[in-house]
Structure formats: structure tokens, C-alpha cells
């Protein structure tokens, strides 16, 4: 029996069009647009000015506090503008525009760094590098990694979980990375285990990625501390709480963190970035992005510099299809719809999904028929139909009592609703106000 989380979940069509496509390196763009807030927390502070020459990997925006992250120049070149742009989340924010120096060889040098297995750093030094080199959670949440790794006294940490689930349909960035950089990821895991003083790590991978599971099993066969766990395919298993429950049968308490049950969870992409930061002193300047969609001529996985406009990615995948109606940053379940393709890739961009024709439309909402499907699929044990109702009627306090704030916004309820009700839209709205009410109270 494959492990999974017990309550709720759905199984949307997987549509992993790019799972057998090796990651290709996208040419370095002529201009990059680097937003200063690519992570959860305080935006970074810009420390360069217009007309400044920057080297590749140079810090251009400094971490603005503890829960923040450094941002590095993804190319060598000249800062041409400090501008406001709309990012993948749809918000306007400060952004550093750099024109790539075409003569600077560092921009085009060999970036496939050799495997370096040995490390002799102290835990503190490891954490310092993770913080210095701007590593954030690459699974999509973009939470600064050093914060997660800063284990307070009294917390009993005994297991590191590596999230290789990639439960979002269409996306294959993590899948390809696990196949192509398996050894580096294992070194990254050992580095983190050393830094966190734990002797147990589990890589959780859904069973639709057999090749990645087998690859890791082969590579880690003589390392008893690292287990590879095949998981039943079920969305949203990549959610931290669901993954911890699936792998260890431990339930993260309401409003708690995995650390409360002795676990830290990191995405495989983050682990690879940590490997590069610790072993090669390489800051987070690029990431794997899946560019996909049923009508795309050549859906692909790319290594992309942070700040590359999304239009470059779509062009590299064969250009935007004729009847494109929706462009999503991320996967179809939790991704953000974009207004245009001018927005740049940031640290959290795991995929670009192009949706064509009728598939982009939402069905017209009908009355709730109280079928209870949304209740059945909610992985958090909530009652989405009730929460929507409360949010619609403005009963936010009651909604908070019904645990609206524990919603992880996975979208399973909206996905299954046979009446096409915009459940998650209203729940998000209710959450926002319930949160405000809570913070007003003190």
C-alpha cells in the first residue's frame, strides 16, 4: 500500500506533458527585470543605483530583516532603471532592470557545476550561506529557507522531509530536477541533515514519477539515513501538512508548523539551490520552469535566469498559441493568472501554463445542491460550502470559528463543485477579513 494522507484530496488529470523532456538552458535574456519581493516577508532593500555596473551573482538588494532574503544579479550588466512593474502575483512592486553585458563572459560560462560531495562546514556556516545566497522555498511558497532552518531551543527535530511530490498537474520542473540532479540533491540533503543535527531524511515522491523514485533508490542505496517513499498520487499531497501526515502519520496542529511535530520540510528544488550555495558559493539566480499547455508547440522544461520575461519562455516553447485565453504562473490548481507576458520569472515561478479556448472559462455558478463533495475533498476537514456562505453574508467571525483561517487554498473544493460555485474565491476573501479582525483584536 502506497502512503497518502487520509482525509480529502482529488485526482485531476495529470497532463504532465513535459515529464520526459530534459531541462534545456534558455539563452540569457538581453534585459532582466528583478523584483525586490520574490519571497514571503519583508521586501529586500535595493543597494544599487541607475547606471551601476553589476557582476553576476552580486547582491543587488539586501535582505530587509530576518524574514527576508538577499537578491542577486542574475546577469552581469548595467542597471538601467529602478522601476515599478506588475509581478506574477499581480501586485505592483519595485524592480531592478539590468541590461545584460553581451561581452562579459561570465554571463555565458559553463553553469553545470561539477558534483562536489565532500563538505566540512560547521552547521552555523551552512545556515549563513543559505541566508547569504538568497535561498527561498522553491516549491512556490518562497518562504526564506534560513528562517525555516533556524530551529529554536526546545524544539524536538528528528526528521527532514524532502518534498518531491509535485502534485500540481502539468508541472514537471521538480521531476526533471530529481532525474538530472539526483546526486547533487542527495549531497544537499546530507548538508541539511548535518546542519540540523538530524539522522533521518525522507524523500516523498508520488508514484507517477517511478523513474525519479528508482533513481534515488539506486543513488541512496548505501545511505541508511535517507529513505525514499513512494506516495499514492493525490492532490494536494505537496502541501506541507498533508505530506507530513502521509509520510509520518503525524498531524501538524491547527495553526502550527511541521516543526511542532519534529519535522522540517523542504522542496527538492530548494535542496538543489542549497547544494549550489553551500558547495559552489552560487547564489540563487536561476531555476527550473516548466512551460506547458496543450496547444503549445513544444512544451519544455527550462533553466531560466530570474528576471527573464515570461514572453521569452513562451517563445522558446514555440510561441503563444492562436486561441490562448489564459496564462498562468504556476500550476492549474494554485497558480496565478497573468494579465500579459511581460512579467518576469521570480524565485517562486515553477511553471507557466498556457490555457486555450473553452478550457479557460469557468462554468456559470448554480445553486448549491448540498451534495457535500467539497466537504469530502477538503484535506483540512473544513466545510467549504458553509465558509463560502458565511463569507458571502459577511459573517466573518463565525467563519473564523469554523476555521476558515486553516484553509490552505488548494482549490479542491472549487475543482469538484458540480454547481461551479466560486468556493475558494469567497473563502480567500473571508480569510482576508477574518485575519484583519483577528489582528485588530490584538
Amino acid at each position: 500500500m502506497l502512503r497518502t494522507f487520509p482525509k480529502g484530496g482529488i485526482h485531476p488529470p495529470e497532463n504532465k506533458l513535459t515529464s520526459s523532456k530534459p531541462i534545456k538552458r534558455l539563452p540569457v535574456p538581453k534585459v532582466v527585470y528583478v523584483p525586490i519581493s520574490q519571497h514571503i516577508g519583508i521586501p529586500a532593500e535595493i543597494i544599487v543605483d541607475r547606471k551601476d555596473k553589476v557582476e553576476i551573482g552580486q547582491v543587488i538588494a539586501k535582505s530587509g530583516g530576518f524574514v527576508s532574503s538577499n537578491i542577486h544579479a542574475p546577469v552581469a550588466g548595467t542597471v538601467t532603471k529602478l522601476d515599478k512593474i506588475v509581478d506574477t502575483r499581480g501586485y505592483k512592486q519595485q524592480c531592478i532592470v539590468i541590461r545584460t553585458d553581451q561581452k562579459d563572459e561570465t554571463n555565458f560560462e559553463q553553469v553545470d557545476l561539477p558534483l562536489l560531495e565532500e563538505f566540512d562546514l560547521e552547521p552555523q556556516e551552512i545556515l549563513q550561506r543559505i541566508s547569504d545566497f538568497g535561498i527561498v522555498g522553491l516549491g512556490g511558497a518562497t518562504f526564506p529557507s534560513h528562517v525555516k532552518l533556524n530551529i529554536k531551543e526546545g524544539k524536538n527535530l528528528d526528521c527532514l522531509i524532502i518534498n518531491g511530490v509535485e502534485c500540481e498537474p502539468y508541472l514537471t520542473a521538480d521531476h526533471r530536477l530529481m532525474l538530472e540532479k539526483g546526486e547533487e540533491i542527495l549531497v544537499g540533503i546530507r548538508i541539511l541533515m548535518h546542519a540540523l543535527h538530524v539522522d533521518r531524511a525522507i524523500i516523498g515522491i508520488e508514484n507517477n514519477k517511478r523513474d525519479a523514485i528508482d533513481n534515488f533508490k539506486k543513488l541512496a542505496s548505501n545511505d541508511p539515513g535517507i529513505q525514499i517513499a513512494a506516495l499514492k498520487v493525490k492532490y494536494p499531497q505537496g502541501g506541507e501538512k498533508q505530506l507530513v501526515r502521509a509520510l509520518l502519520k503525524r498531524e501538524v496542529p491547527k495553526n502550527g508548523l511541521p516543526l511542532d511535530v519534529g519535522v522540517v520540510v523542504h522542496n527538492v528544488g530548494t535542496i538543489f539551490a542549497i547544494y549550489q550555495a553551500v558547495q559552489h558559493n552560487r547564489p540563487l539566480m536561476e531555476r527550473v520552469v516548466t512551460v506547458t499547455g496543450k496547444k503549445l508547440e513544444n512544451p519544455s522544461n527550462f533553466w531560466v535566469r530570474i528576471g527573464t520575461p515570461i514572453s521569452d519562455l513562451i517563445d522558446a516553447a514555440g510561441g503563444i498559441p492562436e486561441d490562448t485565453r489564459k496564462i498562468v504562473s504556476g500550476g492549474p490548481m494554485m497558480g496565478r493568472a497573468l494579465k500579459n507576458t511581460d512579467v518576469p520569472v521570480t524565485k517562486g515561478t515553477s511553471g507557466i501554463l498556457v490555457i486555450s479556448g473553452g478550457e479557460a472559462n469557468r462554468g456559470a455558478p448554480k445553486n448549491c445542491i448540498r451534495c457535500g463533495e467539497c466537504v469530502d475533498v477538503c484535506p483540512m476537514g473544513l466545510e467549504p460550502h458553509l465558509l463560502m456562505n458565511l463569507a458571502e453574508k459577511g459573517m466573518y467571525e463565525k467563519a473564523a470559528q469554523e476555521d476558515i483561517l486553516t484553509c490552505i487554498e488548494c482549490g479542491s473544493c472549487s475543482y469538484v463543485c458540480p454547481s461551479h460555485r466560486p468556493l475558494l474565491d469567497y473563502i480567500r476573501f473571508g480569510k482576508t477579513i477574518a485575519k484583519q479582525l483577528e489582528s485588530n483584536k490584538g
Binding site: E251, K326, P332, R336
Partner: protein, 336 residues
């Protein structure tokens, strides 16, 4: 890029294939076997009653929504169609058409639309229509044409009591189960459907067939039908075990009357049943118990319609008491 505008909406950006409409039409499909059996047993009279109920339900919904409420007309969503079929299934074949029309008006007009239409009704519309007819026209509503094999003509001359009616009357007049056994149809006959009763409650086999289809299609779950039937069987079993001469055995109770029709199709109505599995079990348990109490101690021989309507009223209460367990609410501090 196309000239049509780009859509910017919040996630999720995909949706399952299933719609309310497809759910409703699955129910219609599930009811076909039972309908065919009723045509075989009752001939045209079953067809006339069913057609009258379906057409009048659709027409009333259309007229009321279009000319009175002036809202969107929803007759295409399949729900009024189901109400019509289920209402007919709960009526005796040969009931005068005008009564069927009155029942449809009550079902659609009062039980469904006056509450706000699909999704807002508290009580199962078909059952409200049926019970309205039962208390208004008790004679016609209990005039059961007896099944005659190879009968293709309109039967209304031959009428007989239902199995449960026979038992109830017999026991009241001092007979015992063994003296009644000659006049009660065999379990096999009840299972296949050669007996007397409402149009749709004939064949347990056909009804279960459709019920299994609904479960396979995940329109309903096993919780309600199994709990209703099991609680009827257990409770009647206890009485039968204590006094087999005055109480029918559980098999008769499960197979006769509307138990199976009610358990699979009426009690499982999505709108009027609880949303959680726990709630469904409580709801179904209530239906089973009330049905048996009415059957054994009430003045009506059959009580599942009343039982479902009574439990319908408790659904909001059940929904607020039997909630799903919130993730992380029971903290297991167990560290392996």
C-alpha cells in the same frame, strides 16, 4: 494571441467534468430499470401516471419560474424531472391523472419553489407531493392494482392490499403470521417485483441495480441506503425474534413497501440529506427507526415517506453537530 481578451481569474484554473446536471441525469438513468419493471407489471397505467407526473412537474416549474417568480427557468437541470419520476414511483398505478397533477403542483410549487428552488428546499419535493396526496385522498392513494402477469391492459378492476397492509390489518384482527403466510407474496416475488404497491417500489432487484449504478458513479455513497435498510432489518428483527407470530420477519420488511426505493433514491436526495458521512449515518438511522415505529405501531402500514420527511427537518441540525474533523484539531504529540 487571439483577439478575445485574456481571462484573469483566481485559481483553480481547471474543473472536474462533473456538473449538477450530470449528477441529476445519472439519477434518471438509475431509475430506468425500476421503471421498466413497473411497465411490465402495470402496463399503460404506470406509463400514464409517470408521464403525467413528469410533464406536470416540468410545466409547473416552467410556468412558476417564468411568469410568477420571473427568474431563470431551470427545467433543463434534471431536478424537476427527477421529482416527477420519484413522485410517480410513490403513487399507485391507476391514480386519476388530475390527482397526479395536484401532487406535482404541491411538490414543485410548495415543496421546491416556495423555498427558493433547487438547493434551498428542506423537504424532499416528491415526498411532500406524495404525502399531500395520501392525506388528502386516502382511499384512492391506497387502491393498489394487483400485479397480473402478462397484463398489458389498463388494470384498475383488480385491486389488493400491499404486503405491509395485509400484515397490519391481519394482525389487528387477531391473525398470526403463520395464518397470514398464504396471502403474503414470497420473498422471491417481492425481490423480482411481482407484487402490489406503488409504481416504483415493485422490484427490489431493479432498484438495487440502479442504486449500485449511483454508487459506482459516486452520485451517492453507501452510507444512507445501507444504514436505512440495516436499521430496519435490525429493529424489525428484534421484534420478530421476540414474537414471530405477530411481527413479520426482517426480510419482508426490507423487501416490501418503499424501503428500498426510499433508502436508495429518496433519502439520498443530495439537497435534503446531510453533507458529512457521519451525519448521513445518523440521518439514515433516524429514518430506519421511525419507519419501523410507524410500520409496527402507527396507523399507516408504511412509514418511510413520513420518516424521511421528519428526518429532512433535522438535516440542518445534523449538519451543525456532525462536522468533519478539522485537520490538526487533535494533537498527537507522538514522535516516532
Amino acid at each position: 494571441m487571439s483577439d478575445q481578451p485574456i481571462i484573469v481569474s483566481a485559481s483553480p484554473h481547471v474543473h472536474s467534468e462533473r456538473t449538477s446536471k450530470s449528477l441529476m441525469y445519472d439519477v434518471v438513468i438509475a431509475l430506468i430499470p425500476a421503471f421498466l419493471v413497473s411497465l411490465y407489471v402495470f402496463g399503460y397505467s404506470a406509463l400514464i401516471v409517470t408521464a403525467a407526473a413528469v410533464i406536470s412537474c416540468l410545466v409547473f416549474e416552467y410556468l412558476i419560474q417564468k411568469y410568477w417568480l420571473k427568474t431563470e427557468v431551470t427545467i433543463g437541470d434534471g431536478s424537476a424531472l427527477i421529482t416527477g419520476i420519484l413522485l410517480a414511483f410513490n403513487l399507485p398505478a391507476g391514480l386519476p391523472v388530475w390527482m397526479v397533477v395536484v401532487g406535482s403542483l404541491v411538490a414543485i410549487g410548495i415543496a421546491k419553489l416556495s423555498f427558493g428552488g433547487i438547493g434551498y428546499n428542506i423537504f424532499n419535493p416528491a415526498l411532500v407531493g406524495r404525502v399531500f396526496l395520501l392525506v388528502s385522498f386516502p382511499v384512492q392513494m391506497t387502491l393498489w392494482p394487483t400485479a397480473v402477469e402478462n397484463n398489458t391492459s389498463l388494470v384498475d378492476a383488480v385491486t389488493g392490499a400491499t404486503t405491509l397492509g395485509l400484515i397490519k390489518e391481519g394482525v389487528q384482527f387477531g391473525e398470526t403470521m403463520s395464518s397470514l403466510s398464504g396471502s403474503i407474496p414470497s420473498a422471491q416475488a417481492m425481490f423480482l417485483g411481482i407484487t402490489s404497491g406503488s409504481i416504483g417500489e415493485m422490484s427490489a432487484l431493479a432498484l438495487i441495480l440502479g442504486g449500485v449504478y449511483l454508487m459506482v458513479r459516486k452520485v451517492i455513497s453507501w452510507h444512507i441506503p445501507v444504514t436505512v435498510l440495516a436499521s430496519i432489518a435490525v429493529m424489525t428483527g428484534i421484534f420478530w425474534w421476540i414474537d414471530p407470530e405477530h411481527y413479520a420477519n426482517p426480510l419482508i420488511h426490507v423487501l416490501s413497501g418503499g424501503a428500498i426505493l426510499g433508502a436508495f433514491y429518496m433519502a439520498t436526495d443530495l439537497v435534503t440529506s446531510p453533507v458529512t458521512k457521519k451525519g448521513m449515518v445518523i440521518f439514515a438511522l433516524g429514518i430506519g427507526v421511525i419507519t419501523v415505529v410507524i410500520r409496527l405501531f402507527g396507523s399507516y402500514p408504511e412509514g418511510i415517506s413520513f420518516a424521511i420527511l421528519i428526518m429532512n427537518a433535522f438535516v440542518p441540525l445534523i449538519n451543525s453537530y456532525f462536522k468533519p474533523r478539522r485537520f490538526g484539531s487533535r494533537i498527537k504529540a507522538k514522535i516516532m
